[in-house]
Symmetry: C2
Subunit: 580 residues, 2 copies
């Protein structure tokens, strides 16, 4: 990755817009229409998951897409409301007992602003690498758990009852309590809707392909099915006046573009939302970058991770001024955008324009849309994401990863969304520290007649009674220095005639302050017993730093460029013992 | 470390008590008297730091020492109240607005119980290795900051005024505000006391040695100086009735042994104290194990880290039933114990007995002890621990460690004790992840005429247009897989005629699930471009696990035992390019 930055690096639109041609516009426009058809039901639905009024989903989509098109380095990433981030928003805001929807909405846009600011600052600091600190099984388990919670949360719409909470047991308990109030018509519409969506994903697509339709055509029919469903169910409700029979409708959805809103910057509110904003920023970023990178790799394009931080940050900040809620790159819509042939970020701009037209002129049509239709759309799309394969795979391959994934899944479901992901991240980092805290350390001896040194447990080698040669196969840092010390003194205790310990540092890429301190104390303690400590084959950059340290200056022994030279030098007066 | 456990492993007293002899008893008894003389003023003083009544310091000492003697694996570790843990206790409890000292004391013993339980459970789970997750500069900076806060907190006693808080600025502000109320007599006693203690540590010891006294004798005089000071100042106050002139006294100290108290197990209280208890447990353990290990190494004795967790846990639990507060291994007293010749944990038992006698019969004498005397003892002993050398050393040696230490120091002083240490720990772990997130990756070529492969940037080697040989010099895990992927696709993009990528895995000690996933996606993406992925020289244990994975079964290329074999096999029909 180059570190020279020009204005076009900061605003990629300056680069691609110069080469924009009609042919690219045609590709982008087609993709924009296809993505637009998918995004509208999703935007309404994911706003509901976030606890916001549905129209804010449209607003968030418009601004997120438009601003991402200016800053983003991916040609195909479709930014906007996504299920998991909406759930995290609901979980973050659900902790406070807001007295009115207006207060709730104000907190949501502050949350978007804070997440955006965090991402933007991380981008300026070029901290894109932080996305790596989440292990894949943890993320995967978290997304599966989130989807299960979202799915459970939709059930209330099927029964036409109220439920609350973002913790699985809470949701289920509150649904069970009010099951008696189930509205049978709502329930039937819901079942039929789910049936239709599942069938259009499987049976319909197959049927169309069998009748000779191209795979592409079949896919696009499948993709319009949510919009079709919205049309059909709205029509049904309107025709039979089902709202008078207890079917809950979306109701009045305001027309027009969002009013410019300014997030309220109360310090108190910011403090209480900061932790949640950080989690949302990280999860949103990791999700976005994963899909952006995998799509880019398929076309041999490049993604700039730090630029993506800026772009996602800017999108969230923009959304916060349009009365929205946190957004991220959507996996499903990005894939559709990619497959529909989006060639440049202009596709996103066009999609934004399309949604703006809908928001201005078509929202009155949404009055008749039953809530259960959106619930069905959510249910089918999130259950498609649920994936337990990580548990099977990690059980077979790596128990530590299995435990991390299981912990994340169960804590997310049972304790809460934020607790679950935080615990998963911390646990996977601890596991890594634990694994590296016991580095491989080999006692080595000389292969007779050569200058090579090998592990005494694996090879027939020469050893010496007054010498202990130890090769450390890991960088030395705080998590493994104590083990090294313990190990070394155990080895020393086994050799009563010991005079010299030589540390062979071929595989040591780093010695941090803690390790330096430990080496110093090893040196001092050995000296008290009349044993000298020597170093051999230290890598150049490490040696440069060691030279001026107190440790090196008080080192009881010598430094040798080659381990053989050390052994030769320290062992002049003694014949080798027989090979082991 | 062996993992066989016998009852004597669990209760080391069963082992050493069988071989107990009179000669050992003599050594232990002498050490017990010397440590006893030091521990009494410290126990009273550290109880005050913790915000407890002084006598609870004696109780905590008795029970901590006695129980540690049963479980501990160190012959010399002296467990009891220590300055830093007392400060952490005060910081933890200061957050709550307790309405009475009784409530405060109840919370303190619950805190001791929780810390003890955490340590004990960690011991059972054999998690002693967790002590390694704190980097040395962070610990060192934290202890220095804690000592500065403790020292500042003592100033109020010198002025005979009130102050509060465990944050430096708060303490200073509250002292400045009430400076006008300074009691001049108290101030003079305080200054004189500090002068006496400093002189006895430096001038007196030197003077005695010059007059021919042995170093040992000089040291023991120095060590009795706090007790001497207590005697002198108490006598002064009593003789001149200085309490009527505003000098604050310790007052009534109850005689006798502690009443058996049971911690209150309110779930609410436990939840709110759990975080603090965890921090206290970890810091207390790391401190204790450091001193225990360094003393043991000097005598070539062994410490069992997991056993120490059990022993410290049991001590804290015992203390919580005796109305105490959290305890740990004391650095200064352990060193004294060691130097005084303590041979077995029986020394601790004897010290406990000695303190019990004091608690039963001599507490009435403490009535006349001015608080400022204890403050002077604390001030001098904590300022002796303050050590800024870590900043100088790390500045010269490792900037990352310098930043970690500075962050810990400043946040501990300015924001708070718990925040400071938590931030330091998290930061040092993140730094480590950051460092390992960009592993060294070398493109390698063949040294002509040999089977050796070397970095193309350092050696004159053969390369091939259709082959890319990459050697990865680090284990693959979640923090570096993304970098590997990015790196690899950049290299691939530079070679238009590429047909084969070979990953040489000689230095890969671990491939976690995240890395496996990344390898799979690399394999799939390369295949889309008609490039095959091969592996060579994978280590045995890793290969065993890889064999059954989907990745390995769908690997587009082959697995080769030797990298040369791979190159030979894949390159049969092409002559080598000229060496670079």
């Amino acid at each position: 990755m180059s570190s020279r930055r020009s204005p076009a690096d900061f605003l990629p639109i300056l680069r691609w817009s110069r080469q924009y041609r009609v042919s690219l516009f045609q590709e982008d426009a087609l993709a924009a229409v296809i993505v637009g058809i998918i995004i509208i039901p999703q935007a309404l639905a994911y706003a509901m998951i976030a606890g916001m009024s549905p129209v804010t989903g449209l607003y968030a989509s418009i601004f997120a897409l438009a601003v991402y098109a200016l800053f983003g380095s991916s040609n195909t990433l479709a930014v906007g409301p996504v299920a998991v981030i909406s759930l995290m928003t609901a979980a973050a805001l659900g902790k406070f007992g807001f007295s009115s929807p207006a207060e709730y909405a104000a907190a949501a846009l502050l949350l978007a602003f804070l997440s955006g600011a965090i991402l933007f600052i991380m981008g300026l600091a070029r901290l894109g690498i932080m996305a790596n600190f989440l292990s894949q099984p943890v993320i995967s388990a978290f997304i599966t758990a989130s989807c299960l919670i979202i799915a459970a949360g939709q059930l209330k719409h099927f029964f036409g009852i109220d439920s609350s909470g973002t913790v699985l047991l809470e949701i289920i308990a509150s649904i069970v309590q009010s099951l008696r109030a189930t509205n049978p018509i709502t329930f039937c519409i819901g079942l039929a809707a789910v049936g239709f969506l599942v069938w259009s994903r499987t049976g319909l697509a197959e049927f169309l392909q069998r009748t000779g339709a191209s795979e592409k055509f079949a896919l696009s029919i499948t993709r319009t099915s949510p919009l079709l469903l919205i049309g059909i169910t709205s029509l049904l409700v309107w025709a039979f006046q089902l709202d008078t029979r207890g079917v809950r409708l979306l109701g009045e959805v305001p027309s027009g573009l969002p009013v410019f809103t300014i997030p309220v910057f109360s310090v108190e509110a910011m403090r209480s939302l900061l932790g949640s904003a950080l989690l949302i920023a990280i999860i949103g970023f990791v999700e976005s970058i994963s899909v952006a990178q995998s799509l880019a790799a398929r076309r041999r394009e490049r993604i700039d991770v730090d630029q993506e931080l800026l772009a996602l940050g800017a999108s969230n900040i923009a959304v916060s001024f349009a009365g929205g809620f946190p957004v991220a790159g959507s996996f499903s819509r990005s894939v559709v955008n990619f497959e529909a042939g989006a060639a440049t970020p202009a596709a996103g701009l066009l999609t934004a324009g399309l949604i703006a037209v809908v928001a201005m002129y078509f929202t009155p049509l949404l009055y008749w849309l039953p809530e259960v239709t959106l619930a069905a759309i959510i249910l089918v799309s999130v259950l498609a994401i649920v994936d337990f394969s990580v548990f099977r795979k990690s059980w077979a391959y790596s128990r530590a990863d299995f435990v991390a994934a299981s912990l994340t899944l169960s804590l997310t479901l049972l304790v809460g969304v934020e607790f679950g992901i935080a615990a998963g991240v911390i646990f996977s980092i601890l596991i890594h520290l634990y694994k590296t805290s016991k580095p491989h350390v080999a006692v080595v001896g000389r292969v007779a007649g050569t200058e090579h040194f090998r592990n005494i447990n694996r090879h027939k080698v020469e050893t010496f009674e007054n010498l202990l040669s130890i090769r450390i196969d890991e960088s030395l840092y705080f998590a493994n220095t104590r083990y090294l010390e313990e190990m070394l003194f155990n080895l020393v205790a086994e050799k009563p005639k010991l005079e010299h310990v030589i540390l062979m540092c071929t595989a040591v890429n780093e010695i941090d302050m803690s390790a330096l301190d430990t080496l110093q104390s090893i040196n001092d303690t050995l000296l008290e017993h009349g044993i000298k400590l020597h170093l051999s084959e230290v890598k150049g950059p490490i040696m440069d730093r060691l030279t001026n340290t107190e440790f090196f200056q008080t080192l009881s022994g010598n430094y040798y460029l080659s381990h053989n030279q050390a052994v030769e030098d320290l062992n002049l007066r003694e014949a080798p013992l027989s090979g082991l």
